[in-house]
């Protein structure tokens, strides 16, 4: 889960890394008060979880508190890439001599965190790495041995930085590495890290992303920052249809029938499991089909849950038929899913044979499942029909490119 800049700066500050004397607000009048307290020119920055805010007019410079208020009012009303700002950050306009970059991310191949440092900051680090590779230092560090300052020193020195700058940067990069680990971050980045006229360093912007699976062990931090459990901060806000899908999945604790994502097609998908869903979604599209949704069934859900998911998809406006398809199941039971989807049709007053374009789930309890499908005259397929062929038949039934 990504943090807003004002939250990320707070995390940086708590770790003992110097930050500017900024303020966060959702109120233009308060922005003026913060600017007055700062005294001097300020920068007003939109707090949105999307890139390109500078270009979109989400960052403005103010010479006076009155100007800060006016900019804050404009920015608070400015939508950027479909996101309304959470608020604005009022920041002193620092006199920066040089901008640096410091970050920590995971290296999934080495399976260790890697520190990245560059004396060229303020721009995208990937761009620096491409254009001036000798200006980017990288160093992995152990997951189980204690972090030691020399590791930070080495990565900074490898980029040619020396003198008092080096000595002042070592504790900052050390603290960043430690906060990355301590907070289960998957990204911890200070960019730019500014060197001021007096030689001191200050974090001017920060990006932090905490691993979702680890949120449970950072409740105090999240509570302090005012981040609620329900806040997921996905790339796109969940739609009412997707929220209804979460409700279906929460009906009971048996298995999964969820991870519903909304699309705008006419073919409803009741599919699984993780890898099977990805494969099937691709296959439907490859045959010219228009999925109404993505979803995942797995872990042997109850009949009620499979029924709830199928009902949700069947009731989605524009959905004509559903295709019920999974890769070969060994834990989830064919008969249980068959009962669920047929029940969904019956309860909505539909003929299952009409509404279910195809049922392709081979595997555990398939003999029993196929009997049920035969009874209701639903077209089904066993493992001799590939996922791809099943998807093709489903699309054919609904009419490719019909919508």
């Amino acid at each position: 889960m990504r943090f807003f800049e004002y939250e990320a700066r707070e995390i940086v500050k708590r770790a003992g890394i110097p930050v500017t004397d900024y303020g966060f607000t959702t109120d233009p009048a308060e922005a003026r008060a913060i600017a007055e307290r700062i005294g001097g020119p300020t920068v007003i920055k939109s707090q949105v979880l999307t890139g390109g805010r500078m270009k979109a007019g989400g960052v403005k410079f103010a010479d006076t508190p009155a100007e800060a208020e006016a900019h804050a009012r404009a920015i608070l009303a400015l939508e950027i890439n479909g996101h309304m700002p959470r608020g604005v950050l009022v920041d002193p306009k620092a006199e920066v001599e040089q901008e640096y970059y410091a970050g920590v991310v995971w290296d999934g191949i080495r399976k260790q965190p890697v520190m990245i440092f560059s004396p060229v900051g303020g721009i995208d680090i990937e761009q620096v790495a491409a254009e001036q590779p000798d200006k980017v230092g990288r160093r992995h560090f152990s997951n189980i041995l204690p972090f030691s300052e020399f590791q930070a020193k080495e990565v900074i020195a490898s980029t040619g930085v020396t003198g008092s700058a080096l000595n002042k940067l070592v504790p900052i990069v050390t603290r960043l590495a430690k906060l990355f680990t301590a907070n289960d971050m998957i990204l911890a980045e200070i960019n730019p890290l500014g060197r001021l006229a007096d030689g001191s360093f200050v974090a001017l912007d920060a990006h932090m992303d905490i691993e979702n699976e680890a949120r449970g062990r950072h409740k105090p931090l999240l509570a302090d920052l005012g981040v609620g459990d329900e806040e997921t901060r996905q790339a796109r806000e969940a739609t009412p249809f997707e929220l209804a899908g979460e409700e279906v999945d929460a009906t009971d604790h048996r298995g999964v029938a969820g991870n519903v994502t909304e699309f705008d097609g006419n073919l409803g998908l009741v599919i699984g499991a993780g890898g099977g869903s990805l494969t099937l979604f691709d296959a439907v599209r490859a045959h010219g089909g228009h999925p109404a949704n993505y979803c995942e069934i797995g872990g042997n859900p109850s009949v009620a849950k499979a029924c709830g998911l199928a009902k949700l998809v069947l009731q989605k406006p524009g959905v004509d038929k559903i295709a019920v398809m999974m890769s070969i199941v060994s834990n989830t039971r064919v008969d249980i899913v068959a009962r669920g989807v047929i029940k969904a049709c019956l309860e909505l007053g539909y003929d299952p044979a009409e509404k279910i374009a195809i049922f392709r789930i081979p595997g555990a309890w398939e003999e029993e499942g196929f009997k049920i499908l035969e009874q209701y005259h639903v077209e089904y397929a066993d493992r001799s029909v590939s996922l791809n062929e099943a998807a093709r038949r489903a699309v054919e039934k609904i009419g490719a490119d019909a919508s």
Binding site: K111, E213, G275, S330, S386
Partner: protein, 311 residues
């Protein structure tokens, strides 16, 4: 032969009294020659048994009871306790650990993997279904009940490595139907950081005489395919590889996660199209459809063999 496990492999199940673990134990005991499940561990349950397998409070007790080092462990404890359970297994001399548990934070996974590496142990998973050697042994829930596993998996020359547990079975079943059995199939897990990647298993398959070709299942997210491509080129691998890439639609949806935890397009290198290009450079064919895989890998193996015969 096979990789990682064979009919002599002994293992324990940590968290053996959980509902899924009870089923998994039954399945492993029933499959092939019957796995040597020499114990189970659930703290506080010493003295019980699960399908005849004795339950202990600690791994040390299980090892003492067995009277010899234990080769492996299947770990099925909840995410908050997994790291401790894996450390316990490693420190008690277990060399092969299959982690079934999902939703483990990657810092924990990274710590487990680093300790395993220090101790000469190997981790498969997390978030995986384990390992199967057709008709011989399975370690984990892979393939499901013995009867279902026997329907999908047959012995033969193909090594299967998959980020999706279910797709390991789907692909193996397709290979079996075409007369191409499997030497060993490994479900490696779908998380961003896992114990054994494709490249980290390739050396084992390379050294296994039974294995003549490799089939992998892959998804967007991460750099494991690039690592595989590099390994194949650097080691001048004798094994032809065919890959299947699911989730191509995700290229249009950066930042959204589908399927497994590791499946998210964050940068250009993570995209399906970029990965396909990299694999192609290393002469790894990316099949458009699963049903095309048997013919492609079959042809590639035949081509290698005739090239070898002519040389």
């Amino acid at each position: 032969m096979s990789i990682l496990i064979d009919s002599d492999t002994t293992f324990i199940v940590q968290g053996i009294t959980g509902r899924e673990a009870v089923n998994l134990t039954r399945e492993c005991l029933d499959y092939g020659a019957g796995a040597k499940v020499v114990g189970g561990v659930t703290p506080g349950r010493l003295g019980r048994d699960v399908h005849g397998v004795p339950v202990f409070d600690t791994v040390a007790q299980a090892v003492a009871h067995h009277g010899a080092p234990i080769d492996g462990s299947v770990v099925t404890v909840p995410p908050a306790f997994t790291k401790d359970a894996v450390f316990e297994a490693i420190e008690n001399g277990v060399k092969l650990i299959v982690i079934v548990t999902e939703r483990i934070p990657r810092r924990d996974v990274a710590e487990m993997v680093e300790l395993a590496t220090l101790r000469g142990a190997r981790i498969i998973g997390p978030n995986c279904l384990g390992i199967i050697v057709p008709d011989v042994i399975k370690m984990g829930g892979i393939g499901g009940p013995a009867k279902n596993a026997a329907q999908a998996y047959t012995p033969g020359p193909i090594g299967v490595i998959s980020r999706s547990g279910g797709m390991t079975t789907e692909m193996s079943s397709t290979l079996s139907a075409a007369g191409l059995g499997q030497s060993t199939a490994v479900s490696i897990g779908g998380d961003a950081i896992i114990g054994s990647s494709y490249a980290e298993l390739m050396g084992l398959f390379e050294a296994d005489e039974q294995t003549q070709g490799i089939v992998i299942y892959t998804e967007p997210g991460g750099r494991m395919e690039a690592e595989l491509a590099r390994w194949v080129t650097d080691n001048n691998s004798r094994l032809p590889i065919v890959a299947f890439m699911a989730g191509r639609f995700m290229d249009e949806m950066p930042g959204m996660s589908f399927g497994h935890a590791g499946t998210i397009v964050e940068g250009k290198e993570d995209t399906a199209s970029e990965k396909i290009a990299r694999l192609a450079q290393a002469h790894i064919t990316v099949a458009e459809r699963i049903e095309d895989i048997p013919a492609i890998i079959g042809d590639k193996i035949a081509a290698r063999q005739s090239a070898g015969a002519n040389a």
